[in-house]
């Protein structure tokens, strides 16, 4: 090929940059796609949050005041689906898109068009899902877990729910494949696996979890669809099937899914805590192995979600032991973060505050998880507000706090401006106090026997519910501060340096703030690659 031809070809493939809406619809750029994922996740966070506000409003007092029970059940169902599949998962994929190519020294994701498709499934899938509110019979109200036979009573929304789940699943699988191909094929020379930042490591393991578990969910909901419309007997005992079988298949997906939501958060904490502690992460290799161990165990613990269905005793014991075993690698992580903080020089910028709150509050959620994992006592806790408190500690103060923390941490890198530290601190303190007012009393409610997924309750539960609702409203409205901080930071503010944080390490901090449209068109020098989050 002649020099001129090479030039021509090169110009052609960097030449086409549509503007306006087309830029976002057609883009193959990891930063554009990452931005779209993050904005989508933020919008869904507010839609799901609005549903949570309806739930807390109705539960403010005993009795039925504001919504019909059916609509209340739609709220709990859709809140979960929107938050899990619309907010947390897309947020993590957004961070992966923005950060992984920059962290490993790659020009972009390995499969850029597939990457665009992964994102552009989501708005369509959520149109399918949220459109069900306007259908005869209303939105799905049988719980996000879609247990038959109840879910089969859903009205016209039913096939839309199933297809929305299929569609989102396709997005997740395509995204996971892309991340695996990117990390295993696109690392800069010298970026060996054990030098990868932990966020990349945790995402790689998350991607494997996605590829192995999402198709199982697709299979499970396909069986629901054929049970409803084509007369199959998978979940009908009268035909030789078993509704409990759905629960087994669902939770075979569902338990890895909870680690899909939380593993990237471990990676975030492992990036932020060493930065503001100005000390290398304690136990890098053990962090990697612990993440792998958690991922492996996540496939053999699923039935702890269904201890009360009447499994054989051997099954109950097996799933109890494997569940409690997860505390070991998780404990390794928590102790490593604490050891990183030991004798370090800490400053408390907003990302660090959220990450420290993450470690403490996620650990509370982990402990209540241990309580739930013990079979004999789970018979008391099952399907009570104790479970609600548990998974909101691990998901809100775990996953969401980590997402917020990461946003503050990398926002100056992405926008080139520092965020408003004062407003950020307000956001942190309001969120952290209110989220505990919101969820901590729910432990007491659950232990006292208040069931989950009910619009009304016995008067003995009134006080704690009112406290919880007040916490909920404050938490919900505090998030408006978050949008304000992001908006201000995108629009302007103090100029950020390339390194942004004094203690920041990793390839993304060697790029300008904001980074160029194409990150590393030529691989970074091997000497600039520091080992394992340092």
């Amino acid at each position: 090929m002649s020099d001129a031809a090479a030039h021509g070809e090169h110009d052609e493939h960097h030449g086409y940059h549509p503007g306006g809406m087309k830029r976002w619809l057609f883009t193959t750029n990891h930063k554009d796609i990452g931005t779209m994922y993050l904005i989508f996740a933020l919008i869904m966070f507010f839609i799901g949050g609005a549903m949570a506000m309806v739930i807390r409003l109705e539960l403010f007092q005993p009795g039925l005041q504001f919504v019909e029970p059916q609509f209340f059940n739609s709220m709990t169902t859709m809140h979960a689906l929107v938050m899990i599949f619309g907010a947390v998962m897309p947020a993590w994929t957004g961070f992966a898109n923005w950060l992984i190519p920059m962290m490993i020294g790659a020009p972009d994701m390995a499969l850029p068009r597939l990457n665009n498709w992964s994102f552009w499934i989501l708005p369509f899938a959520f149109t399918l899902l949220l459109g069900t509110f306007f259908m005869p019979g209303g939105a799905p109200a049988g719980g996000w877990t879609m247990y038959p036979p109840l879910v089969l009573q859903t009205g016209d929304a039913f096939p839309f729910l199933i297809f929305a789940v299929h569609f989102m699943g396709a997005s997740s699988i395509a995204g996971a494949i892309n991340i695996i191909a990117t990390v295993f094929n696109m690392r800069a020379p010298g970026m060996t696996l054990m030098k990868l930042p932990l966020f990349v490591w945790t995402w790689i393991i998350t991607a494997f979890l996605l590829i192995a578990s999402i198709p199982v969910l697709a299979g499970a909901v396909t069986m629901l669809l054929t049970d409803k419309f084509f007369g199959t007997a998978f979940f009908a005992a009268s035909g030789g099937g078993d509704p409990v079988m759905f629960q087994h298949i669902f939770w075979f997906f569902g338990h890895p899914e909870v680690y899909i939501l939380i593993l990237p958060a471990f990676g975030i904490a492992s990036a932020i805590i060493p930065t503001f502690a100005r000390k290398p992460l304690f136990g890098y290799a053990s962090m990697v192995y612990a993440t792998g161990a958690i991922a492996f165990l996540s496939f053999i613990v699923w039935a702890h979600h269904m201890f009360t269905v009447g499994m054989p005793l051997a099954g109950e014991l097996f799933f109890m032991y494997t569940t409690v075993l997860i505390a070991v690698p998780t404990g390794v992580k928590v102790f490593n973060w604490c050891a990183t903080l030991w004798q370090s020089s800490i400053t408390f910028e907003v990302p660090m505050l959220f990450s420290l709150a993450f470690v403490i509050l996620f650990t509370i959620g982990g402990f209540s998880g241990l309580m739930l994992g013990i079979t004999p006592v789970d018979f008391q806790y099952h399907d009570t507000y104790f479970v609600v408190a548990h998974f909101h500690y691990v998901l809100v103060t775990g996953a969401i706090f980590s997402i917020i923390s990461a946003t503050y941490f990398w926002l100056p890198k992405w926008t080139g401006h520092m965020y408003d530290e004062t407003l950020g601190k307000w956001h942190f303190w309001l969120s952290t106090i209110s989220v505990n007012v919101l969820f901590f009393p729910q432990h007491f409610l659950g232990l006292a026997g208040m069931p989950r997924r009910i619009p009304d309750y016995a008067v003995q539960f009134a006080d704690f519910n009112m406290v919880s609702s007040i916490g909920g409203f404050v938490f919900g409205f505090s998030q408006i501060l978050f949008v304000m901080v992001i908006w201000k930071c995108v629009k302007g503010g103090e100029k950020a340096t390339d390194r942004v944080w004094e203690g920041a390490h990793g390839l993304e901090w060697t790029l300008p703030s904001p980074p160029p449209y194409h990150s590393f068109t030529t691989p970074p020098a091997p000497a600039s690659i520091e080992g394992g989050m340092r």
Binding site: H17, W117, F124, G219, M223, F229, T232, G239, G240, H248
Partner: protein, 293 residues
Amino acid sequence: MNMSDAHADYYVPEPSHYPVSLSLSLFLMFVGGATSLNGIGVGPVILGLGFLGFVLVLFGWFGTVIGESEAGKYNEQEDVSFRMGMMWFIFSEVMFFAAFFGALYYARMYSVPWLSGEGSGAATNQFLWPQFVANWPLLQTPSAYGFSEAKAVIGAWGIPAYNTAILLTSGFTVTMAHWALKAGNRSSLIGWLAATVALGVVFVYLQAGEYGHAYHELGLTMNAGIYGATFFMLTGFHGFHVSMGTFMLFVILMRSTKGHFTPKHHFAFEAVAWYWHFVDVVWVGLFIFVYWI
């Protein structure tokens, strides 16, 4: 930028409308499918429109990729990305089938025996369907209400055994085609590929005949209880995958006749061959667990 840099660049394709068009087409298919299931008249029309868009997008998108490949835009690094993508896509398909195999094993080992009173199922049996006796393949459902009764199931040593032989043979022919490709022997490549496509078509034809037999003579339908459900779900999705695989092999055959692929550069061929081996292996699982034991 000098020439060596241009070659070292990883190929990042320019912005493309195909991904979002694909999403829109699939969205229309889902809306059309869901409204059809809900019995709304316009559903099939929307489904058809979506499918049309889907086909057009796939032609366009794959056509673009083939064009880029033939123009030499992909070097070894892109090739590795594609290979990883296909490999993990196939793994996700394996897990999709795993859900249905799981349902088969669970029904056979747990739910049917429990319904007849084994294990902790004594009360279930006594109070719900005391006359029910576990049987596998399940012909008599616990309750006749809502389910049709199958007279018999399809035995392993008729058409299913032929189909096993056909698919295993096709695994051999596609490997011969690969060797021919690597040896640069195009006419041999085309011959072996054509044979593989033909075997795929014969498999689907025989399977369709078997379905007709099951529905019309044996009364074995999707509605015939858990055996019928697992039987049609597993063999149905498998048959669908074989049909897709046959179509993909046909595309590869057409490309081979056009002179695409070189002994060193033929990812698409290998991807389809992997896919074909995958449907082959799934079939062996089906033959053993659904038909045979």
